[in-house]
Subunit: 106 residues, 2 copies
DNA sequence: ATAATACGTATCCATTTGGTTACGTATTAT
DNA sequence: ATAATACGTAACCAAATGGATACGTATTAT
């Protein structure tokens, strides 16, 4: 039984590098699909599919303006990622601390 | 031409919920494979495959102790996730701020 | 020496993923 | 009215993913 429940979390949204790049672009401000697609060496429908996933996982929202669709960053769900990663912070800070004291031994 | 370059980033490591759970467990301390596998309703080889991916993406390390393999969290790569998510923080804080002032208008 | 344990790996399989081209539709330009 | 633009979606496809079972090997227990 391969995979009963497909992952609906925001982690799937950011798993793909193209989708991360789209989000990075949207951080600068809303953009229509064509502008987003122009930045990648992929077909526009491919970008549309990525946008659909981002939409369904509520990481972006869409607004119709004439024949364009403005895509806008909806960062609320991304907070889940930040929340998940947070407890790990102590670990790499500890490691960096160890490295620091190791270097200072020289 | 579907996908020239497979994603080797840490984002792939944390894309799968089982792997995130493994990492969460390892935050409490190193563990042998059987203990990790016991926590999931998956076969041990399935967990071994997840561990291999986590190993290859340098999110965990393996150390042989007798016939056991101790897996340990290696959080350095996870910092990339934290670094990536960081700039988005301003956005959801802004949204929460807006909500707050909206509520205070009442 | 033999059996049991703790793994990793090989093989196989169904599903998902991420891409493509072809096409349909709403909106704007001519 | 007709053409062009800006999309979304459908159909299709190869590769990747995540699972299972079967098996091999090193280590420990008997």
């Amino acid at each position: 039984m391969p995979q009963a429940d497909p992952d609906r979390s925001v982690f799937r949204a950011i798993a793909d590098p193209t989708r991360r790049a789209i989000l990075d672009r949207l951080r600068l401000g809303p953009a229509p699909v064509n502008e987003l697609a122009a930045a990648f060496s992929q077909s526009r429908p491919a970008i549309s599919k990525h946008l659909r996933i981002l939409r369904e996982l509520n990481v972006v929202s869409e607004q119709k303006y004439g024949r364009e669709r403005l895509y806008r960053l909806e960062p609320a769900e991304l907070k889940d990622v930040a929340d998940w990663i947070l407890p790990y912070r102590d670990f790499w800070q500890a490691s960096l601390g160890n490295l620091k004291s190791y270097l200072e031994q020289e």
